[in-house]
């Protein structure tokens, strides 16, 4: 098969039997999933379901015990550097080089990818402006608020104009205005052919924003498809809670009703 053709028709991200085990605990239990090119893909699941582990294996951060991952037809674990050049990743729970200023950090990410200085400068300015960080560009990232930190991390993932964005919990601690701005950027990006994968706890957000969704629980893929396919008649939240289970049964806190 012609690789060029294969690349353009291949899914943005393709996982086959991806698995990871930590000692006795199976974190991800052989997940197979296709993220169509040009989709806005939501990945939902309860805490500890294996979302972050799966995304880490799909983006070259964590070597899988089993299975394979492709980004636009490029094998993540065989042609790692080329796969990474197609990806922009916002990892959850990792630190940033926070002794750099916001501007320095974004520039750093661009230069690490081998971009030329002029382009990096221009895009850094754009990113800071769009993410409402222009005034904070000179401040050290360590002094940023949680939301600002998320936004600057997002900027480092966008600087090289990737074909696929993988965002782990991008809206956590981000204020509503910034969140709306980020959503606009992402929607625009998808509208122009990019692919976004977000993991989130906020079902409502996923339902409104995403075209596709996958539900992961205990390392297993429970459902995947377009949002309408997965949720059927009910809301995504109801579907999710039904599939995952774990709602508390029995009485509530009756004494809380007194005042």
């Amino acid at each position: 098969m012609n690789t060029e053709l294969h690349q353009s028709t291949a899914p943005a991200i393709s996982l086959r039997g991806l698995g990871k085990r930590y000692g006795q605990k199976i974190a991800v239990n052989g997940i197979s999933l296709d993220v169509p090119s040009g989709s806005f893909y939501g990945l939902v699941g309860p805490n500890g379901a294996g979302k972050t582990t799966a995304l880490s294996m799909a983006t070259g951060m964590l070597r899988p015990d089993a299975g394979q991952a492709w980004v636009h037809g490029v094998d993540v674990w065989k042609d790692t550097r080329r796969a990474k050049s197609l990806l922009g990743v916002l990892a959850d729970g990792v630190r940033l080089f926070d002794r750099l200023s916001g501007r320095q950090l974004v520039t750093y990410a661009g230069l690490l990818r081998g971009m030329d200085a002029a382009t990096v400068d221009e895009r850094t300015d754009d990113l800071l402006r769009v993410l409402d960080l222009s005034d904070a560009g000179g401040k050290l990232v360590v002094d940023y608020s949680a939301g600002m930190t998320k936004k600057i991390a997002l900027a480092t993932a966008l600087i090289h104009s990737p074909r696929v964005l993988v965002l782990d919990e991008p809206f956590e601690a981000v204020d509503p205005v910034s969140a709306a701005n980020i959503r606009d950027i992402l929607a625009d990006y998808v509208g122009h052919g990019g692919t976004v994968v977000v993991s989130s706890h906020v079902m409502d957000l996923v339902q409104r924003m995403c075209s596709h969704v996958a539900i992961i629980s205990d390392g297993n893929l429970l459902a995947a498809g377009t949002v309408d396919e997965v949720r059927g008649e009910g809301s995504l939240e109801d579907t999710f809670v039904n599939m995952v289970g774990g709602r508390a049964e029995g009485g509530g806190l009756s004494w809380l009703h007194t005042s």
């Binding site: 983006t59 070259g60 951060m61 964590l62 070597r63 790692t80 550097r81 990474k84 050049s85 990806l87 990743v89 990892a91 729970g93 990792v94 630190r95 940033l96 080089f97 926070d98 002794r99 750099l100 200023s101 501007r103 320095q104 520039t107 750093y108 990410a109 230069l111 690490l112 990818r113 081998g114 030329d116 200085a117 990096v120 000179g138 401040k139 050290l140 360590v142 002094d143 608020s145 480092t156 993932a157 090289h160």
Partner: protein, 524 residues
């Protein structure tokens, strides 16, 4: 309420043991150490009991003042050692201020340092054992003095919180505290010499301290012992006034701080544009790594920590050689500093912690990562080593040795960098986390770190054998030719080693990038 606070402190201590047995071990070791110290001083106090009252007073006042001063100063620099009962955590509960203050104050006695101090201070009763009543006064004043020390410590910490919440101040403080620790040996030696000469004016210092909040309580039994009742009463009243004023001052500072918490942010000046470091290196991947590392060398105290001993090495060598009057060792300053500086980049990835993920995600080449880190280190290592090589040789008039010393130093620098570049692509170890106290070593690192560092130093020495052997030949034969041969070998071999080290380290890095990433996650 006071009892509740004390119980809470006890419960926190106990739960800490449950969570980490090592903490219990730490407390037990600290307890044994403290107890040993207490016994030792008890014996001393007991022996002191045979001396005249004036001498007892002098010694007790000096000791108590010194310890009290320590309680006031050390926690400030360490940014509040004991925050198990952080006052700000109580701000949401309706606790009467007076009870909160008393409870927090007394809770300071629960824990090894507070308890040991209480024992020590009360132990001064032993020195006054000649008279039962006097001994009682001694014990009482000791307890009050301990309370006084706690209050002063709280006041100092709380007052400094506004300052110490400024990140830069706090980080600087830790390093300032560390320098005297390294120099402790020489300082003690000099101090004991000075002490013998200056013993005459110690009673005068003591007499002054006896009127300050540091030593006034401790001086009261001395007044009683010589029958100066009026003086004793006056001093006791003054001491109590001091204590009350300190507590009230602490209370007022505390509640002002609770009502208007100090701003956590700020502290750093804005960086205009890209800053100095990013202009120094080319806009390439390795240049970016170098710029970032250099910025960290300037801004992250953990890096400063790893080279803080470098300026102290000449001091130490100079000090030890001045004892024997033979300064030849100073000539070998440069190779020693070169090895230490080259080695200081071997924990780089460990210091990056999970921020290293950016290097992973951008698909940075191992060679560029390695080269960038060496380049940043070179910015200050090369001038320092050259200076350390040229200056002593010039000052001691041993210029004929200079080529050989330069060769050894440059060889050491290149070889050291090579070994560090390879080792740090393979071995990471738990280091203080970004923003943590640079002196705080995470548990369970000692053995692994020692083995890694020993192996790294060992390999560097072995790989430098050509230079070292030529240098020995030069020293034995005394022929200048060999000195120049050392220089040539050092430069050529050092450069070759460095290139090889960057390549091998880069290859290891490339094949193990995800594993390195996961190692930093574990160190979190």
């Amino acid at each position: 309420m006071v009892a509740h606070l004390l119980k809470l402190k006890l419960a926190l201590l106990r739960n800490g043991f449950k969570r980490s047995p090592w903490q219990l071990v730490g407390v037990i070791i600290g307890g044994i150490y403290g107890l040993g110290l207490a016994v030792l001083l008890f014996v001393g106090m007991f022996a002191l009991g045979d001396q005249p009252a004036e001498l007892i007073t002098t010694v007790v006042v000096l000791a108590v003042s010194l310890i009290t001063l320590g309680w006031a100063v050390i926690p400030v620099l360490l940014s509040g050692v004991d925050l198990t009962l952080d006052p700000s955590r109580f701000s949401v509960y309706p606790i009467p201020p007076r009870q909160l203050v008393i409870g927090l104050l007394l809770s300071g006695f629960i824990g090894v340092p507070g308890l040991v101090m209480l024992l020590l201070f009360a132990g001064q009763g032993l020195a006054w054992r000649a008279n039962a009543g006097l001994a009682l006064v001694g014990i009482l004043c000791g307890v009050l003095a301990a309370l006084n020390a706690l209050a002063l410590s709280r006041l100092a910490v709380t007052a400094a919180t506004a300052l110490t919440s400024n990140r830069r101040f706090r980080e600087l403080g830790m390093i300032l505290l560390f320098v005297p620790l390294i120099m402790l040996g020489p300082i003690l030696q000099t101090a004991t010499e000075g002490l013998e000469a200056g013993l005459g004016w110690l009673p005068d210092i003591s007499a002054v301290l006896a009127w300050t909040p540091l030593g006034s309580f401790a001086a009261v039994p001395g007044d009683v012992a010589v029958g100066a009742w009026g003086l004793a009463a006056a001093r006791l009243v003054l001491s109590l006034v001091y204590l009350v004023v300190i507590i009230l001052a602490w209370k007022s500072v505390l509640f002002r701080a609770l009502e208007t918490p100090p701003q956590q942010s700020g502290g750093s000046r804005a960086v205009s544009g890209l800053g100095v470091a990013f202009r120094l290196f080319p806009a390439t991947p390795w240049g970016a790594v170098a710029s970032r590392c250099l910025t960290y060398w300037m801004k992250d105290p953990r890096y400063a920590m790893s080279i803080i001993f470098v300026p102290l090495v000449p001091l130490l060598i100079w000090f030890w050689s001045s004892q024997g009057g033979d300064y030849t060792a100073m000539l070998y300053l440069a190779p020693i500093i070169a090895v230490l500086l080259a080695f200081s980049i071997s924990a780089d990835i460990s210091y990056d912690n999970t921020a290293f993920s950016l290097h992973v995600l951008t698909g940075l080449r191992g060679f560029d990562d390695r080269l960038g880190r060496v380049a940043a280190s070179a910015v200050f290592a090369v001038p320092t080593v050259l200076l350390a090589a040229i200056l002593p040789a010039a000052l001691l008039g041993e210029t004929e040795l200079l080529p050989a010393i330069l060769g050894l130093s440059l060889g050491a620098l290149g070889t050291g960098w090579a070994v560090s570049s390879i080792a740090s692509a393979r071995y990471t170890y738990a280091v203080p986390l970004p923003g943590d106290n640079p002196m705080k070593t995470p548990p369970g690192t000692g053995a692994r770190m020692a083995v890694t560092q020993l192996a790294t130093f060992g390999s560097t020495i072995v790989l430098m054998l050509p230079e070292i052997i030529l240098h020995i030949v030069f020293l034995v034969t005394g022929q200048e030719l060999y000195a120049w041969l050392v220089l040539v070998t050092g430069v050529v071999f050092g450069a070759l080693m460095l290139m090889g080290g960057l390549r091998i380290g880069g290859r290891w890095f490339d094949s193990r990038t995800p594993e390195l990433m996961q190692a930093t996650v574990l160190n979190r």
